[in-house]
Point group: D2
Chain length 109, copies 4
């Protein structure tokens, strides 16, 4: 049953989407918000592709591998952006992104 | 920090979305698939609103209450549909929907 | 056929989602980005609910009215926020939001 | 302004998502619904990736090309599935998918 099989990757995607959405909003409340624009943008892309990856895995879709491969790449890019910043939400987001990228890369193979 | 505050409801929404997506696909493989059409349709609506509710909570949105209230109603309707069927995926989906409805109702108040 | 019936409202939702997504990114490039935080947040919520409303109408969902009612309210709130700002993307977004709210309110009745 | 630049592709994605969502629901009402399972599944994947592609283009995302490339591939696969069936909604969906694939391929280059 695909849903159970992919459970670890689904959870990583869901956790990453939540971390990205939270990071985006938290960035908007930072004093240096202009400096956070790229981080907010990559958070938005990453949250969206993570939710799509989660959905297609839960549906056992034949395209789950392709979508997870792209998701891994977008997660790593988002992590690299978040790692430039010292905010706690950026650190937590980077960690969630790296974990999700690892899970999605394994799925995509 | 809203993200942490709403964590239990976010997890319930994510779990419900995955259960609904899995149930929809599994219904399509059942022999009595024509009989499962309403279940598949309610699964699709429920998965979508659960992912939206999860996102707005993670963003700490001012509209999270409104969206969670509607999500609770859609989850309960999906549970009621799933409870008509004897398939294991329907039972699991109904349970995830009832749990999510309870969490979302509490959030929406 | 619901898809055709709702075509005008689906198009208004799609146009509003695109205007909101564009406005959010454009706000992030403005010099007064800290001042645009609420606008960016309401753009994100509005884009998401508009895409959900579009999807449920295209599927002829039994919950389309409920979702369109909530979408109308979120669109009007987003328009009110955008109308506070002088940027061209905010003006265009407010217009798309008001049009979508009108269509969604009619759908929701 | 990316939003305007990509307008033709955004519209093709939105039209394809609506056609896929409509086709999925319409398939569920067909007498030979068991025969339509693959079509319904590919409709769901295609609608989801089209909405994501539309969103990232409207946001002027740096990952729009990657997402549009994958979207083109998923649209073509959905068209190929829909072209196996004689239903009017399948024909319309296949046409929307082919058009969207063409636009997304051009975007992705």
């Amino acid at each position: 049953m695909e849903h159970q099989e992919h459970q670890s990757c689904i959870r990583a995607c869901d956790a990453c989407a939540a971390a990205c959405d939270h990071c985006a909003t938290a960035c908007l409340s930072e004093q240096d918000v202009a400096h956070m624009a790229e981080c907010i943008k990559s958070d938005m892309d990453c949250a969206d592709i993570c939710r799509l990856a989660s959905a297609v895995m839960a549906r056992g879709s034949s395209r789950a591998k392709d979508i997870c491969s792209l998701c891994a790449s977008i997660c790593n890019a988002c992590a690299a952006e978040c790692e430039k910043h010292r905010h706690e939400h950026c650190k937590q987001c980077a960690e969630a992104c790296r974990n999700c990228a690892k899970e999605c890369r394994a799925m995509g193979q």
